[in-house]
Symmetry: C2
Subunit: 192 residues, 2 copies
């Protein structure tokens, strides 16, 4: 998606260690007009899928998922990252290892909001190793929900998450795939 | 706001310990059509304020804030709850005690996304003791930003957060104020 790629070029910053900072518009400050355009693109791409639920994981995916849910006219569910006393015992849960934070946490979705009737579009801001996505897929499998596709804002194409998910048969629709990036020059190239 | 009150009556559940579960439409599964109506109400209520930024705190506030930002045509910023390696050192930070989770965590906003030119509408899903809100207000004060108002989905009127904030001169616009609720009968009454 050219609009997102252009925005990454304009406002993204490449840091060492394979870190791409896009927090001025994607995952700290949110440009919701951009989110709405991204949602329209996914809506077009998944026009033939009968999606009736959007699933994401807190926190950075939520704003994007809300825009997508509005565009599709369906509810969104965000998986929570730790047991909260406001959740019943009746939950799906799976551990996820976070590379960003260097620890393992539990991801939780209430059984009331995901089930066999759900045709799910999973949304997240980033896809790198795919650890969080594997957790969400495991929860969808437990729920008996059908995963119609995976919508990612920025995929790090030089990490294996997207490749492995496509090899497993999932439709991964990444609006920008970073092929390479150089922390010295700041140069970013995209895969098309 | 009648639509929100009706929805709380229909789908909310009163638990012991002053807990109101609204996770079927507000803070786990999200009814974004409802969020858009809430955003319209705040837009009407704050028509005379020159709001150019929405501020919230992860995670439950983000979906609502995204809808509000879309309605106002401004960016939204969500405060993060723990130091992330994807954030620069250049941040505002303050500790907040969570009554829900029984621990203290740091709340962080990058200095690049909040400053003296910002006229802020703070959005959150719940207001009870006001601890999280006090943290966001402290960050706004540090940034030199002007707080035009506070938009809350559900205020627990039997806890002191809203009363204290109004006594301090803040415009607190809660779309539903729960006056009392009974875990035995499930009855919920609203303040008008």
């Amino acid at each position: 998606m050219k609009e997102l790629e252009d925005r990454i070029i304009k406002d993204g910053t490449v840091k060492s260690g394979g870190v791409l900072k896009v927090d001025s518009f994607l995952n700290h400050q949110m440009d919701v007009a951009l989110f709405q355009d991204m949602a329209k693109q996914w809506h077009e791409d998944f026009a033939d899928a009968h999606i009736n639920k959007v699933l994401t994981i807190e926190a950075s995916g939520i704003g994007i998922a809300a825009a997508v849910a509005a565009e599709f006219g369906v509810p969104a569910v965000f998986a929570k990252k730790s047991q909260s006393i406001n959740l019943d015992g009746s939950v799906y849960t799976t551990p996820i290892k976070s590379f960003t934070h260097g620890r393992t946490y539990d991801v939780i979705v209430s059984k009331r909001y995901l089930g066999p009737d759900d045709h799910v579009l999973i949304i997240d801001d980033f896809l790198a190793n795919g650890a969080a996505m594997r957790g969400l897929l495991k929860i969808c499998a437990e729920a008996g929900a059908t995963v119609e596709g995976i919508g990612i804002a920025v995929e790090k194409g030089f990490q294996p998450g997207g490749r492995d998910l496509r090899a497993d048969g999932y439709t991964v629709d990444s609006l920008a795939i970073v092929e390479s990036m150089d922390p010295e020059t700041g140069e970013i190239t995209f895969r098309h």
